[in-house]
Amino acid sequence: MRKTLSDLEAGDHARILHIEGKEMLSQRLIELGLRPGVAVEITQKTPSRLVCCFERATLALRTREASIAVVEVL
């Protein structure tokens, strides 16, 4: 089943497969470091947002923005 970053819970690890969605938004997520292939850890999750860590970076995302990042759970 297709999973996105927004489907994950705190403590989950996943790898980014690709970023979908509008050009501006998907570009910005990639520029912020959510490139295909990057392994992320979800450190916090609330109904409206999530916080994830990867490669010494911490990123806060709205659930809406996170839902365009297709992932595979690790």
Binding site: L25, P36, Q44, T46
Partner: protein, 642 residues
Amino acid sequence: MSKDRTIALVGVPNSGKTTLFNWLTGARFEAVNYGGSTVTCHRGLSQLRWGEPQLELLDTPGTYSLIPKSPEEEVTFQVLFTDRESVEAVVLVLDSTQLSRQVHLVDQLKELKRPIVIALTMTDLLVDEGLKIDLDKMQNELEVPVVEVDGRLGGGIELLLKKVRLILGATDASATHSFKASPELSLTDKRLRPEFNIENYASSARIVEGWLSRVSVLSKSSAFKRTKKIDQIALHPVAGSFIFLGIMSLLFSSVFWAAEPLMNQIDVFFAYLSQATKTLGSGLWVDFLTDGLLLSVSAVLVFVPQIFILFFGLALLEQSGYLARTATLVDGLFLRLGLSGRSFVPFLSGFACAVPAILSVRGLRSVKERWITVFVLPLMSCSARLPIYVLLLSFLFLGQSSWKPGLMLAFIYVGSLLLGGAAAAFLNRFVQLPDDSLFALDLPVYRKPYLKMCGYKAYKRTKSFVVDAGPMIFTFALIIWGLSSFPRIDSVQDGASSAPSLDESFLGQGGKYLEPIFAPMGADWRTGVGILASFAAREIFVSSLAIVMNVGETDQENEENMRASLLRQMLEARKPSGEMAFSVPSVTALIVFFMIALQCLSTVAMAAKEMKSYRFAAVQWISLTLVAYLAAVLTFQVLSMA
């Protein structure tokens, strides 16, 4: 002598770019405005070394890529890709701990075909983890010189400047100008924009991995692990909210309580100056100097302590890494109002003064969000309202214990927040504008703030307040003075003219003429004059009311005396009908009016400038003032019935 050669500093937000800029210029720089917007760049000269040519340095707004996605990033793009600045070389500031995410900027910058030097920051954080970057390998693979710099101690600055001069020497000054770009490019113009190339990003982690080597097996402390731990609490929905409220209360109480003695000192100083000037004699010129010039200068300067303290506090929070967390914490709430967590900082600054607050909306990407934020900002209880509330509340609670007005003041502040929220929610429903807001926020590692840098930042913001808003406040204070001191009365005995009583001045005549408008909210013509005068700037209300109420000249020298005397006059004031001019209903209505009305010309001017629309400013001014008036009339009428 030839023109100084221009170097642009480019980097991601939080990469240490501005700190480096401070080191390079010795913290001497000026703001440069761009294309009619309020977005600024900073320009400074490299610190002078004997026998070496000076360089002109431009600090561009932080950008995640050269494909701009906000007005701020657009400025960086304009500086680099148009020829208005004739940038000859670029210093790219890269955070060594975030290389895999930032190295793509090298490829994008190479499209500029200008020499690049990389300044590598935060290497101390890598050392703490036992890691080291192989500079030679990095230089060779990128084909760009790399210099390690220390943002805190200023190490590596000399070497960086040397490398910049070296690459500039290798390129002839005239040759670099052969790069021709169109003078004005915009977001929509894709001709010269670097292409978004996913390949650049996909391979970056692997490439960067090759430059890193482990030099020590023991890592002392990892800033990233520490950050992860702190965030477990700081971003926690419950615990995080309490910490947030605690820190905000601390910030605000220091803005008010720490600034108070300084503001008093400024008042006392100007009262002394004014007194000294009065000894020069009487007549138009002395009137102009004391009541016109000195009063208007002090009206600007009295806000300097609050603005400095607020921005110092904000800089502390920003440098420590906490400010980005506050945006994250409030985002859920703000989302429902059509805003995002990013508009939190403008709102926070709005409690000191709306003018610098409007300046800070430029980081917001969404047009709709910028629109709503600027529209609602003047509802935040800015510091200019404080003296008015203090006066009116002490009238309402005259002779009662002091906690009551204190509590009411707290209610007014919370009320302004709720009003702002309601207004934002309302506008969110009805404003049709593109909303491409996106909330993906980079949370930097927690670090000890660098106090000197915070001082510079606060100084910079305060200075821009004085320079941007100062002339406006000053001019209108002078106009009010003019209206209240003309037509002159010619004295028969010595031929010297003196100021008319306020009653007979243009301002007083206007006030009486407009009295029917103010009557429904319970105000007589004297309050009307105060309200009219305060449309230039709210802080004028108390002083103009003092003039209208004929508070004795001798009493005005002492702030406390002036207030006490004014309160007595307010109690005694009667309307022609014999009713009290200041009653509980009329004073409450006045408070409601001041909470909503947009009585600040600097804010109106700044809003027009930032939104690039006089229509916006007009709509905002008229609607806020109209709502304020209706709310005040309603308050007075309802309370009078009771």
